[in-house]
Every structure is written in C-alpha cells, then in structure tokens.
C-alpha cells in the first residue's frame, strides 16, 4: 500500500522514471503499454458489466441489482488503478534491469469475477426477483 502511494507520485512525474537506469528496448516498452491497455480494457469491460446489470436485469430487486452493479463498477475501478500501478512498476523494473514484479491480482480478480458470476446466475435462476 505504501509503495502504491509512492507510485501514484510517479504517474505524474515522468522525469523521475527517466532518471533511473537505462532506456529499455522500445519494443519492451510497447509490450508493457499493450499489457496496460489490456488491463484497462478489462476494467472498462467490468464497468460495462455494471451498466449492463442495471439495464438488462430490470426485474431484479433493487438491492440485488444495485449491489451487483456497484460490485462490478468497484472491481473495474480497482482494476484500472492496478493497471497503471503495475505498468509503472514494470517500466521501472525494466529500466533498472530487475525482474518484473509478480502479482496476486490476476488470481484475486478471477475469484471475484467467478463469485459475481455465480451470484448473478443464482439470483436470476432462483427467481429472487421483484
């Protein structure tokens, strides 16, 4: 968490990243950029899922509908912040010639998406509607 706060500063201070180590092969930077964009799309898809729950499950009880939608929107926000944080960490590791950072986030996100999906199937099939 403390490292995350330190990284937030780096998002807006490109000079500090450029001061460290050497510039990696531009292709590595572009690959890192694509990974960042893939995570950003994941975040956007989760947010889109939040919108979709609200619109395509109108018969659901208010609490369930809003709860599921907010869970998906929240997961999207987390995913977006994590995307830029991981991008900065990878960029810095490449400049310093260190190993790329490992992360538990993909596994955690997988579990969260599975839980939300099961909740949605249960809610829709078992007819906890209206």
């Amino acid at each position: 968490m403390i490292e995350f706060v330190r990284n937030v500063r780096l998002w807006f201070a490109p000079e500090e990243i450029r001061e460290e180590g050497g510039t990696p092969d531009y292709r590595f930077s572009l690959a890192n950029e694509r990974t960042f964009l893939a995570w950003l799309r994941t975040a956007l898809a989760l947010i889109g899922g939040g919108f979709a729950v609200d619109q395509f499950l109108p018969d659901l009880r208010w609490g369930w509908r809003v709860g599921l939608a907010l869970a998906l929107l929240g997961a999207g926000v987390l995913c977006a912040f994590r995307a830029v944080n991981h991008w900065v960490r990878c960029e810095r590791a490449m400049r310093r010639g260190e190993d790329l950072p490992v992360s538990r986030f993909p596994a955690a996100l997988g579990v969260v998406v599975a839980v939300v999906a099961i909740a949605m199937v249960a809610v829709v099939l078992l007819g906890w509607e209206g």
Binding site: R27, E33, L37, L44, Q55
Partner: protein, 107 residues
Amino acid sequence: MTPRRAAAARDPGLQPERTRLAWRRTTLTGAVIAVLAMKSALHGGAPASGIVAAALCAALWLGLLGLAHRRIGALASPRPAALAPRVAATAVLCTVALAVCGAALVV
C-alpha cells in the same frame, strides 16, 4: 549496413501497429460504455441527473479518444518513445470517472 537500417525502420514484429490497435480496442470498449450510459439515461424516463451523467460519459469517452488519437500519432514514428505516465494516468482517471458516472446512474 543498408539491410540492417531497413530492418530498424520497420519492426518485423509490428509492435507499433499492435500497440496502435490495442489503443483502438480500448476506445471501442469505451464506446460500448458510452452507448450503455446513453441507453440507461433515456430508458429511465430521462431525468436531468441521468442526462448529465450520460453526457459526462460521452465527454469522458471523447477524452479517451483524444488520448488514443495523440498516442497513435506518436506511434507512427519508427521508434516510438515509451508511453508517458501522465497519459496512462489520465486514461485511468477517465475510466474511473466512467465508473463513478455509472454508479450515479445505477443508484
């Protein structure tokens, strides 16, 4: 030296092109959200708050589109510079703002 320079001019792995398409896909995903926001605002009897949230979503999507457009322009050079952290952070903040608009529309 000539063949080597030709190879340097165009990456055989097409990395800049792939990155350009990744930006395009990202803006496309943003477009889906903007459309869903529009639908949500119009479907809910179009209250003023819904219209404002949908308009904000559209504006944020245009912001993402602008960022992508500038980055795609930069990627046209044979050896593009790395993505600026400010651009990455702005794209993420647009995404988060879209989620906030979504929360406003849902609740």
